[in-house]
């Protein structure tokens, strides 16, 4: 290459995570010249999640997904909620039925392993991965974005359209003025997790899984967060267990607790500890989840740039969705970039079809529907302590009051609710929860 020649591409993608590598693959497949810029040593090395991936989204990028041997852990054949009281546990999980292991809707995965492979697939489509490189700013000409400035010597990279997949710390999105504030402490959750190594046979026995082709994914509510607005989670890998929790930044700070001590308390819970006993800590990590969803979304496009994934707050905390929205939004952004190249128009108006594409999918609709949920959970901490404790106590009484008059049993059960929460308030909570979910 001639020295001083501009490093030019048709599309620049910032961040080789789930959305970035999906966008890069779709754009490269259409014949565009794509640069996929990643700040880590390798794709995935900065990424940490629970968590599960959803084949419906992976298959949209690679219909021949299963021939490519994706590095996934166990399929999720059992999923649901665990309710923890101080020393008890009620499991409300589903298995079989719609979760039988012939039609798998979700897989447990480890991001550092998966994202490397995911980026390699984009590379096979023709995208150029530029690792160990941080995008620090945009290059503008006549007010329009024409490329990015990286932290490398002579680090200018040019392209008429930039797809921003920078993740939850969306400093570049903020720099473009697409959102006027940093993450909001009330809706961003700090998640901490331990990945614990255990022999797969031990995992199968302790979690009641038939074999390594069976896996569990559960949201854990109750004693896990000591009443703070937060959720625990537990996912089984092949020979590891992902176990962690997320708590909103403001409540964490107000409670003056150390997140790793809060996590340890959860791991020490009498119902949780035996599940991971004797396990070796493989990795600890922490990451913010943009749980605000709709209400924290930046403007999604501007002249020459599109925002995707966590950077655009595309998370539905209740349904564990985020990875799939990121991938599909990455695809939508790439299709928008392809269309813009055909038109030769990279203006905000031209790129607005990105929004239309997201509207046509479940993404914008779901995020809008759940727009009040994160606020609801913050103002209704009862769902984090009162109700999980009540469920434990009520079931405990029902299955232990043998030889006692049953009239008294039901009175006791009712009292175990009402001394925690007056009946009218409890009914109000249920209605409010319904409204937060339906989105009215």
């Amino acid at each position: 290459m001639i020295k001083n020649e501009k490093l030019s591409f048709d599309v620049i993608v910032i961040g080789a995570g789930l959305s970035g590598s999906a966008a890069a693959a779709i754009a490269a497949r259409s014949g565009l010249k794509v640069a996929l810029i990643e700040r880590g040593q390798t794709p995935g090395s900065k990424n940490y999640f629970g968590g599960t991936l959803y084949p419906h989204s992976l298959l949209e990028i690679y219909p021949d997904l299963w021939d490519r041997n994706p590095p996934l852990e166990r399929p999720v054949t059992e999923a649901g909620f665990w309710f923890l009281s101080k020393d008890g546990l009620v499991r409300a999980t589903v298995q079989g039925g719609k979760l039988n292991n012939k039609t798998i809707d979700a897989y447990v995965a480890l991001r550092a392993k998966f994202d490397v492979w995911w980026a390699e697939q984009a590379q096979k489509e023709g995208a150029l991965i530029i690792p160990k490189t941080v995008v620090v700013d945009f290059i503008r000409e006549n007010g329009k974005i024409v490329g990015v400035l990286t932290d490398r010597p002579q680090g200018e990279v040019y392209a008429p359209v930039v797809i921003i997949c920078e993740g939850v710390n969306n400093l570049l999105t903020q720099k473009l003025g697409l959102i006027k504030h940093d993450l909001r402490p009330a809706s961003a959750a700090l998640a901490v997790k331990q990945l614990i190594a255990l022999p797969s046979i031990t995992i199968n026995t302790r979690f009641g899984l038939t074999d390594n082709d069976h896996g569990l994914a559960a949201s854990v509510l109750g004693d896990v967060s000591m009443g703070l607005p937060g959720l625990g989670f537990i996912y089984t890998g092949v020979d590891c267990v992902s176990i962690g929790m997320g708590v909103t930044l403001d409540s964490l700070t107000k409670a003056h607790v150390k997140p790793y001590e809060l996590l340890q308390r959860y791991l020490d819970h009498p119902q949780i500890a035996p599940l991971i006993a004797g396990g070796r800590l493989m990795e600890y990590g922490a990451h913010i989840i943009p749980e605000g969803g709709w209400k924290d979304m930046p403007q999604l496009y501007t002249d020459g740039a599109l925002v995707v994934g966590d950077a655009a707050s595309m998370v539905n905390a209740l349904h564990w969705e985020g990875t799939n929205m990121a991938i599909l939004a990455g695809k939508a952004a790439a299709e928008t970039a392809i269309e813009a190249h055909k038109k030769g128009d990279f203006s905000s108006k031209s790129l607005s079809s990105y929004r239309t594409r997201l509207d046509e999918r479940f993404i914008m609709g779901d995020l809008h529907q759940y727009r009040n949920l994160s606020f609801f959970l913050r103002t209704h901490p009862e769902f984090m302590d009162v109700y999980p404790a009540f469920i434990n106590e009520a079931l405990g009484m029902f299955f232990s009051g043998f030889g006692q008059p049953k009239k008294q049993l039901y009175k006791d059960i009712m009292r175990s609710l009402t001394y925690r929460r007056p009946l009218l308030k409890a009914m109000g909570d249920i209605v409010a929860f319904g409204r937060a979910i339906i989105g009215v």
């Binding site: 700040r39 390798t42 710390n169 400093l171 409670a255 607790v257 001590e261 308390r265 990795e283």
Partner: protein, 106 residues
């Protein structure tokens, strides 16, 4: 000197975070700290010092005299300190390309 406040409400197990951080892999940038305290005096005057508690890797520690020191080497780049410092006294940017935490599993 005001002590860092821990809520007596919760009985939490004591955790030696340094032992837990042994499980993490880092490429440490010897030439540049990506997070810095902007004005050390502000930390001395900050009574609550929430960073000492909310940082998930315990990178912020109180020193004698009430100042706060940040060990950027153990940072996992979560962003909490940037968002939650009451006085916006943290200069936060991403480590230079290739440096910082490098998750092996994720």
């Amino acid at each position: 000197m005001p002590e860092t406040k821990t809520s007596p409400k919760y009985d939490l197990p004591e955790v030696y975070i340094d032992d837990i951080l042994m499980s993490l892999k880092y490429f440490t940038d010897e030439h540049e700290a990506h997070i810095k305290i902007i004005d050390p005096q502000v930390c001395i005057r900050c009574i609550v010092k929430p960073c000492v508690e909310f940082c998930p890797v315990g990178a912020y520690r109180t020193q004698d005299g009430g100042s706060v020191q940040v060990a950027f080497q153990s940072c996992v780049e979560c962003g909490t300190c940037r968002v939650m410092c009451s006085f916006s006294n943290v200069s936060w940017k991403l480590p230079r390309g290739g440096f910082g935490v490098s998750y092996k599993f994720g």
